[in-house]
C-alpha cells in the first residue's frame, strides 16, 4: 500500500513539473517522470510475493509467476513514452530556434 502511495507521489511530482514549471526542458522532464511513475505503478499491481519472472525454464515447472499482462502493457507504454518524449524534444528544439529561449513566459505569440 505504501509503495502504491509513493508511486503516486512520484506521479504528482511529474504533474507538478508539467503544470508549474516555465522551462520547456523541465516540462519534458516532468512528463518523463510522470510516465515512469505510471509504468512502475502498473508493474507494482502485477507483483506477486515469491513469484518468479514470467519466463519458462526447461528443467523445472514453475508454478508461481508474477503477472505477465501488466508487464506487456508497460512494454507498450515505455515505447509510447519514448515516442512522445522524442517528439516533444524535437518541437522544443525548433521553438528554441525560432524564439531563442526555452522560457515559456517569453513564448507567447498566440493570444486570446
Amino acid at each position: 500500500m505504501i509503495l502504491y502511495l509513493l508511486c503516486l507521489i512520484l506521479f504528482c511530482i511529474g504533474l507538478y513539473g508539467i503544470l508549474r514549471k516555465r522551462n520547456l526542458v523541465k516540462i519534458i522532464i516532468g512528463f518523463s517522470i510522470m510516465s515512469y511513475a505510471l509504468n512502475l505503478f502498473l508493474v507494482l499491481l502485477g507483483y506477486k510475493f515469491h513469484g518468479r519472472a514470467p519466463i519458462g525454464a526447461s528443467d523445472q515447472n514453475i508454478a508461481n509467476m508474477v503477472d505477465p499482462l501488466p508487464q506487456a502493457l508497460v512494454h507498450t507504454s515505455i515505447v509510447i513514452g519514448l515516442g512522445m518524449t522524442a517528439l516533444l524534444i524535437a518541437i522544443a528544439i525548433r521553438i528554441y530556434e525560432k524564439y531563442g529561449t526555452f522560457d515559456i513566459t517569453k513564448i507567447n505569440k498566440l493570444k486570446g
Partner: protein, 149 residues
C-alpha cells in the same frame, strides 16, 4: 569546439569504438533472436542496434554520419520493417483470423520456434532500430545546418 565535434573524438575513442560497435551489434541481434525464449525481444534489441550506430556517430563526428549514411535508405528500411509486421498480421487470414500464428510452434526453448512470434521480432527490430537511429540522425543534421549558416 565545433570543428572538434565535426570530426569526432580522439584516436583512442575511435579505436575502442571500432572494436566495441561490432560487439554491441551482435549483442543486439542476439537479443532480437532470443526474444521468444529468454528476455529481450524486438524492441529492446532494435534499440540496442540503434544505439550501436549512435555510438559510431558520437565517436566519429557528424561529418561521417551525414556523408556516409543515407537517410533515404534508413527511411526505406524502416518502412519495410513496418510493412513486414503488417504482412505477418495479414498472413493470419490464411488460417482464419487477423494475427493468427500460422506457422508451426516448434519445440519450446529452441531458437527456431514459436512460429510468427520470432518473425515479428525481426520485423519489429528492423523498424525500431532503423527508425530510432533516423530520429537521432535528423537531430544531428539539423544542428549541422545551423552551424553551416
Amino acid at each position: 569546439m565545433s570543428s572538434k565535434t565535426n570530426t569526432g573524438m580522439s584516436l583512442i575513442v575511435k579505436t575502442v569504438t571500432r572494436i566495441v560497435v561490432s560487439v554491441i551489434l551482435v549483442f543486439g541481434i542476439y537479443i532480437v533472436a532470443h526474444g521468444h525464449v529468454a528476455l529481450g525481444g524486438g524492441f529492446a534489441g532494435g534499440i540496442i542496434i540503434a544505439l550501436s550506430f549512435v555510438l559510431l556517430i558520437l565517436a566519429f563526428g557528424r561529418n561521417v554520419a551525414v556523408n556516409k549514411i543515407s537517410v533515404t535508405l534508413a527511411a526505406n528500411l524502416e518502412t519495410i520493417g513496418a510493412l513486414m509486421f503488417l504482412g505477418i498480421a495479414l498472413l493470419g487470414f490464411l488460417k482464419g483470423a487477423f494475427f493468427t500464428n500460422i506457422l508451426s510452434k516448434g519445440v519450446p526453448f529452441k531458437l527456431f520456434s514459436a512460429g510468427t512470434i520470432s518473425l515479428s521480432n525481426y520485423a519489429i527490430s528492423l523498424k525500431v532500430g532503423i527508425g530510432l537511429f533516423s530520429i537521432y540522425l535528423a537531430f544531428v543534421i539539423l544542428e549541422r545546418y545551423k552551424q553551416g549558416k
